[in-house]
């Protein structure tokens, strides 16, 4: 199965509830809610696309901020462009070709000895312009990277390590018998100045974004896939195995820092933190980014080191997503020596999938974009944008920290004390993911939590919520949609955060110990992504009412890349019996939903509102507008359903209701007389 890191796509924007305080009507909420949110976000962090000349294909794959407000941008087409004037208020920059002919560079940094280090697919190269004519003329191989010829074998980085070496992460190969056919695929490696490769850690899958923090902590992003239930950020130490089994093929290779063997990892589908307790050497993530909510193909990762010039989140992290064309924010803390933290939506509405983030001068965040052949919410296939803080601070959750009996939420503005003090203002749900070989995972073991008590700080800038039950190892979704700012009376710009509670800290409690429940008694869901539903609208066997007769009409429907069905017009006679086979030949999950005329988008929008429970219901809302549907199908699987065509002729809709797909993945089901 081919499942690269640039993968399945979802329009996430609509997850954020509108911040307009009054109750908007259903039409208002479903009519492009993302535009509302994007407009609001733009008041605080302004997004400016950089115009690109027509004859340049700028699929940005790496950005280096040079002095004098200039940029070097590497592209998927192997070029390095020098860009001057991109910082201008109304940018109309000048592009000069610095180098070309590289093989898929995915990052560029300045070399301490002059020139630049670039990670290409086959090697890390030291590139220099030795005669100063503005064109690179020296391409010295620093280290040859083992590859087997799969197009998924990306090399991400490089990053300069504090010890003077370079670090690179290596994507696994897909579509072959093994995903790690040559050494160090799926590893983080270090490269010495004389080109020696030193393995650091294993278990990586598609570590498109990684960084070393100002405190010297190495973090790597991961993309949902086999062994990876959802995107996430993991803190990496030498010798760590962070989850994907293929890389363990090389654990006995000289230089390996990991001793686990592939057979040591069970394919049990138990939560990863439970497996990690049984098997030493497995490092669980610091912060999970729930799939479809906070990204689907995590790609860029940087720390806010602007000291407040980029807004109130200094010291936190920004993470870009390729599929959802957006940036989320992450805060981290160490509890009992373990890194953990929370993620929050930050900025949506970029023009294309974002794979690189680089902070430039004057706290300008450069956003490098390409969709590289996969769909992205942003409609373009290439791009470069910048994001700057307008100086205005929105009403946001500043940070979520863990407490011995709950969480401490801090805010950028004082909260309305009455609403903030009411435990009903906060909705907490915890869940986790399966750790198994199957691609991805639905949220499992989903449970709501009661908020027993709230203490609001005197200055109104933080609240402490206490929960009788905390689940160690679980992701806790904390929503406060009704919370209001005392100053402006508005709701939170982004009202939801996801805290990965790896460790519960010690410390003083605000609710008595006796009130805390044992969090261990949970039940395992059946929740498979293609769980068969027994709904009568999802009829997978010949209906008995057909009395053994064949269908009147057989329809075969497939998919095409880029969120499309392979047909946009299906036709059937009113009242006829249809046997429809839906073949999902894409590498993302899809379904087929037949709806009454004109309701396809409404049903699709309602599916997006189903939240974490949606997956178990195949993202088909309980609506009278739904006539028939398949369950959510894994890539490369199919389902045959049987239904009777409505008796009233007309143009009915069919859509895929996987969150975000329905706007593009749709068609007309024409019922004729």
């Amino acid at each position: 199965m081919k499942h690269p890191f640039f993968l399945s796509l979802c329009l996430s924007a609509a997850f954020a509830v509108s911040t307009l305080a009054q109750n908007p009507s259903a039409e208002e909420r479903f009519a492009l809610p993302s535009d509302e949110l994007v407009k609001l976000e733009n008041l605080y962090w302004e997004r400016t696309p950089i115009p690109i000349p027509d004859d340049i294909i700028l699929e940005s794959s790496g950005i280096l901020a040079l002095p004098n407000k200039e940029l070097l941008v590497t592209t998927r087409r192997g070029e390095i462009w020098h860009i001057a004037g991109a910082y201008d208020p109304i940018p109309n920059p000048k592009f000069t070709l610095f180098a070309s002919g590289l093989h898929e560079p995915l990052g560029i940094i300045a070399a301490p000895t002059g020139g630049y280090y670039v990670a290409q697919r086959p090697e890390v190269t030291h590139i220099r312009d030795t005669d100063g004519d503005g064109r690179a003329d020296s391409f010295k191989t620093l280290a040859r990277i083992p590859i087997s010829g799969s197009y998924h074998e990306y090399a991400f980085g490089p990053k300069l390590a504090p010890n003077g070496n370079l670090r690179v992460t290596l994507n696994v190969a897909f579509g072959a018998a093994t995903q790690s056919p040559v050494p160090w695929r799926g590893w983080m490696i270090e490269i010495t100045p004389d080109g020696q490769i030193i393995p650091i850690a294993a278990g990586l899958r598609s570590p498109a974004g990684f960084t070393v923090t100002s405190q010297g902590v190495w973090l790597a992003a991961e993309n949902q896939g086999e062994w990876v239930g959802s995107g996430r950020i993991t803190q990496i130490d030498p010798g760590d195995f962070i989850g994907h089994v293929a890389s363990l093929a090389w654990s006995r290779e000289p230089g390996s820092t990991v001793s686990l063997r592939p057979g040591d990892i069970p394919d049990s589908a138990d939560p990863m933190h439970e497996v990690a307790k049984r098997i030493p050497g497995i490092k669980t993530p610091a912060v999970w980014l729930p799939h479809t909510i906070q990204g689907i193909s995590t790609a860029g990762l940087i720390e806010d080191v602007t000291g407040g010039e980029f807004g109130p989140f200094a010291g936190q992290f920004y993470i870009s997503d390729q599929g959802q064309s957006k940036i989320v924010r992450m805060s981290m803390e160490q509890v009992k020596g373990v890194w953990q933290g929370a993620s929050y939506n930050f900025r949506e509405g970029f023009e294309c999938g974002i794979i690189r983030l680089t902070m430039g001068e004057d706290a300008t965040l450069w956003v490098g974009e390409t969709n590289r052949g996969w769909g992205s919410v942003g409609p373009k296939e290439q791009g470069l944008e910048r994001l700057t803080w307008t100086g205005k601070t929105p009403f946001e959750i500043q940070e979520v920290k863990a407490r011995s009996d709950g969480f401490l939420l801090s805010f950028t503005q004082p909260v309305d004390p009455v609403i903030a003090a009411d435990p009903a203002t906060y909705q907490v749900t915890s869940f986790t993911y399966k750790y198994h070989q199957t691609y991805g995972s639905p949220p499992i073991n989903v449970e709501p939590h009661q908020v027993a008590k709230v203490e609001v700080a005197a200055d109104g800038l933080s609240v402490r919520i206490a929960l009788p039950k905390l689940r160690e190892g679980y992701i806790h979704e904390i929503k406060a949609p009704g919370l209001l700012s005392a100053k402006s009376g508005t709701t939170l710009l982004h009202d939801t955060s996801y805290y990965t509670l790896n460790q519960i800290p010690f410390g003083a409690r605000i609710i008595p110990l006796a009130a805390m429940e044992n969090p261990m008694a949970h039940q395992h869901d059946a929740g498979a992504a293609s769980s068969p539903s027994t709904s009568e609208k999802n009829q997978t066997t010949v209906p008995t009412s057909w009395k053994g007769k064949n269908a009147d009409q057989f329809i075969t429907l497939g998919t095409e890349p880029g969120l499309k069905f392979d047909q946009t017009l299906l036709t059937a006679k009113a009242g006829s019996r249809v046997q429809l086979t839906f073949n999902n030949v894409d590498d993302m999950m899809h379904n087929f939903v037949l709806t009454t005329p004109g309701t396809g988008q409404t049903v699709g929008a309602a599916a997006m509102q189903m939240g974490v429970s949606g997956e178990g219901l195949s993202f088909v809302p309980a609506s009278a507008d739904v006539i028939a549907h398949t369950t959510i199908l894994q890539p490369e699987s199919s389902q045959t359903i049987y239904f009777t065509v409505p008796s009233i002729p007309g143009d009915y809709d069919f859509v895929c209701t996987f969150p975000g797909h329905s706007m593009l993945m749709k068609g007309i089901f024409r019922v004729t007389k």
């Binding site: 081919k2 690269p4 294909i57 998927r76 087409r77 192997g78 070309s100 002919g101 590289l102 093989h103 898929e104 290409q120 697919r121 086959p122 090697e123 190269t125 030291h126 030795t130 690179a136 003329d137 020296s138 391409f139 010295k140 191989t141 040859r144 590859i147 087997s148 010829g149 197009y151 579509g175 080109g195 590289r372 052949g373 996969w374 409609p379 199957t438 498979a528 992504a529 293609s530 068969p532 997978t540 057989f554 329809i555 075969t556 497939g558 890349p561 392979d566 946009t568 017009l569 046997q579 086979t581 073949n583 030949v585 894994q634 490369e636 699987s637 199919s638 389902q639 045959t640 007309i668």
Partner: protein, 640 residues
Amino acid sequence: MKRVPSISALTLALSILCPLGAKSLLPGEPIPLDSLSSFQPAGENWVIASSIGGDPRRTNSLVANPGTGILVNTAPDKSGDHLITNWEHGDIELSFEFLLPPESNSGMYLMGRYELQLLDSWGVAEPGVHDCGAIYERWIEKEKRGYEGTAPLVNAARAPGLWQTMRILFQAPRFDKSGHKTSHAKFLEVEHNGFLIHKNVEVTGPTRGANWPEEAASGPILIQGNHGPIAFRNLIKRPFNFDTQVTLQDVTSQVQRRKNVAVTQNEAEAPTEDLPSTVAANIDPGDLGESTNFTVTYTGKINIPNSGTYAFDADSRGTVQLQVGGQPALVPINPGVRFIPIDLPAGLHDFKLEYAHGRWQKPQLALFVEGPRIARHIVDTAESKERQRAKVKALTAAMADEEKPVAKPQKKEVTEIVVSPPADGIRLQRGFTPFDPRKRLYSISVGSSTGVHYAYDFDTATILRTWNGPFLDLFEFWDGRAHNQLTKPIGPALTFHDNPTVALLESGEHDWPTETDAMWSSEGYTLDAQGNPTFFSRLSDIEIEDKIVAASSPRRLDRHLTLRGDHTSWMTAILLAEASTITPEANGRSYIIGDRAYYLDIPADNNLEPFIRRINGRDQLVLFPPKSGKDVHLTYSLVW
């Protein structure tokens, strides 16, 4: 530089419009060259030889060495006669090899009337209607002017004295019962040195110099003999009648369906369900309306027009097995099929076609056949052709129905991304270079504004291939997800070997290594002011500098190798060329590589002494530089 039209578009057109496409599976009929018995009585200028002697690279004459297998026109001037076969043809595929000395001129007249020009066009930048591979022009004697000639899409000509290949797929003109012509003669495909130079070129009448002014349904081959020497070998003909087709009739289909499995269930254990047989209008498994995981068996009759040997082929996304007349014709290998040639008498025979569809993509099957006088074409029922046309019509109508405003303008279907060097410089592109048996992963293509390009391998410091043309098609490298990451050369190419160029040998008798040495490392490259790369490598203590410069007048690659340092315990060796045979030329510093495939020249001021050694049945041109502690500078040129 002449722009080569979209290669992939041509291939696409080939498969849809013209069912004749891929190369023949069945062997053609070689025209014997042990004597002139296949030809009408010939002038003395035509002789049979075993090989070419003399210096066909530099002198306008061909020396025919005694023996058989090669046909030679020895006449150096206008005194020679033409050569005409004693057999005639209509539709035909004709392939042959030819060799020309400098400035020589000949031509292959299909049906004695339609000439494919053979000329020494080595080095011509923009080939015209008189150049090698052109379909010659027609002639109006009164006005002394020509018209309708078709230049080849690209100049694929090799240097004088080298063997070249030509393959022609030709359709004869058609006439009705009263003798009126209903369609013109057509060159369906012409490939020169393996590269397509013509596609579907009509010729409205005999070309200049044709033996007969009137057209006919058949005619002999005429080879021009009055314009200079030329040699031929491996003439192979496959006569056809394109109108003769194999069809299916009385087809029934029977489906065995594997019941839907839950994600966690083992597919192989899922129960199957046999559906009853039904009449089938065609053998298109996509029409069955079946889900994935099914097998369909088609049975019926196949109409075999001519008695003889048949070869079937299949292009599919499933597993295919075919039996005709009870004999196995196609057996599945993974992936693809293997054909078994079968002999069939003319008439109706039973056939049984099994197609097993797995989980990937839409079911798809195209069945092909070729046979005696039957060119390769798609096999299905006669009605299926009508149905396919109707399907296309309906689809067009459906698209017209949907008059919704389009959110974004529809992208034009892109099937190639052609990149070329700048007008006066060099363009480099790293990527995976196509190569047999396996694409090369650490390699780079270097394109020059001279129009001459090469691909270089970092692991072996080898020139993998050279070609002329626009440079590269990067569609499979930059479009969408680009699974193959291939940097594909556009243009007629000469492919070399991929053995390491520099090696450490224990002794002069040890064979050359085929794998990269463990102590080898590629160190990258620098660019000079024009953009030409110099490649740097290390083999143990030896530093290697490698600069290759393309030139176009005359066409060649000049290579400058410098070795510094020495590995004292073993012998340092350089491999200049490797082939089945290497022949030194009379001047002592040029070599003919292989069976007249290309030349390797060493400049006169060179004081190194490469020599030919024969190991394991092959020749190697090697150099063991003296261990003097001084730098070794080796220069040589490749000419083709």
